[in-house]
Symmetry: C2
Subunit: 141 residues, 2 copies
Amino acid sequence: MTSTPDREKEDRGLALPAGTRLTPQRQAVLDAIEATSGRFTALELFERARRSSPRLGLATTYRTLELLRQTGSLHALSGEGRPAYVRCRPEHHHHLVCLSCGSVEDTELCATPSQRDLTRRHGFQAKSHELEIYGTCRRCA
Amino acid sequence: MTSTPDREKEDRGLALPAGTRLTPQRQAVLDAIEATSGRFTALELFERARRSSPRLGLATTYRTLELLRQTGSLHALSGEGRPAYVRCRPEHHHHLVCLSCGSVEDTELCATPSQRDLTRRHGFQAKSHELEIYGTCRRCA
DNA sequence: GTTGAGAGTGAGAATCATTTTCGATAAGCT
DNA sequence: AGCTTATCGAAAATGATTCTCACTCTCAAC
């Protein structure tokens, strides 16, 4: 049944860190994320996950969110407004944030200043970067 | 004395929104920001500003931070660790965040996906963007 | 100089998100 | 079974920020 033992914890892209267990509670949180589109708050997620796992605790929800964040399956939106989370791809990507409806979309499109310019102008050695583009999404246009 | 009446509220780059008053309390907060290098928390700023304006309230400090944020003179760092703020230029710019010492530097260097690609791939109309580059700064290299 | 409207204020309470604590459970290993 | 460790839920604790409210200040109009 287990094609790749190491990957048993993956749930269509939502991955927990290696060495952690996929418990029923965590599964309930993963399912709740699957069932949600766009951004969500920790509390919203908790309430949704609780429908399928009534004894789920808020702390476990936060703990699971943190695990998912570690694997890059989740991104915490910190800017304007209340804190929120969005599901995202573990691979390199950026975010298109709609100022009208608040939806967040992943994009592979990427551009950054060259390392050469960074070194020359700032003596800075880049390791990673995050780009958020604000504007109007297709539906709100 | 006032070369440009409209600019009286500017304090070497730290600008309050038009129509707001530069009160002694706000001046104390601005001075405290001037006297600080790198990132600072709201509470640190409050305590420093309070030295020159002992009756200053924490709420006023937050209110002033928000005003400065509105004009782009200040950036709220939300990512890793405790919330903090950094002074920055009101003009368009991005941030170089040192993963070693936590310092934040402004840069004019900028690059984003083209509007053409955004439209074609996502139907997204970009209005603004924010880029944070993580890595190692000159001093920590 | 008085006045009135509205911006601005401090103190403390309230809110909100998140983390910690701790005793109880469950799972995995031997 | 017996031991070890991960995980859990509930509740308290924490930390940052915002709100409330009564009071003060500024400034233009009288």
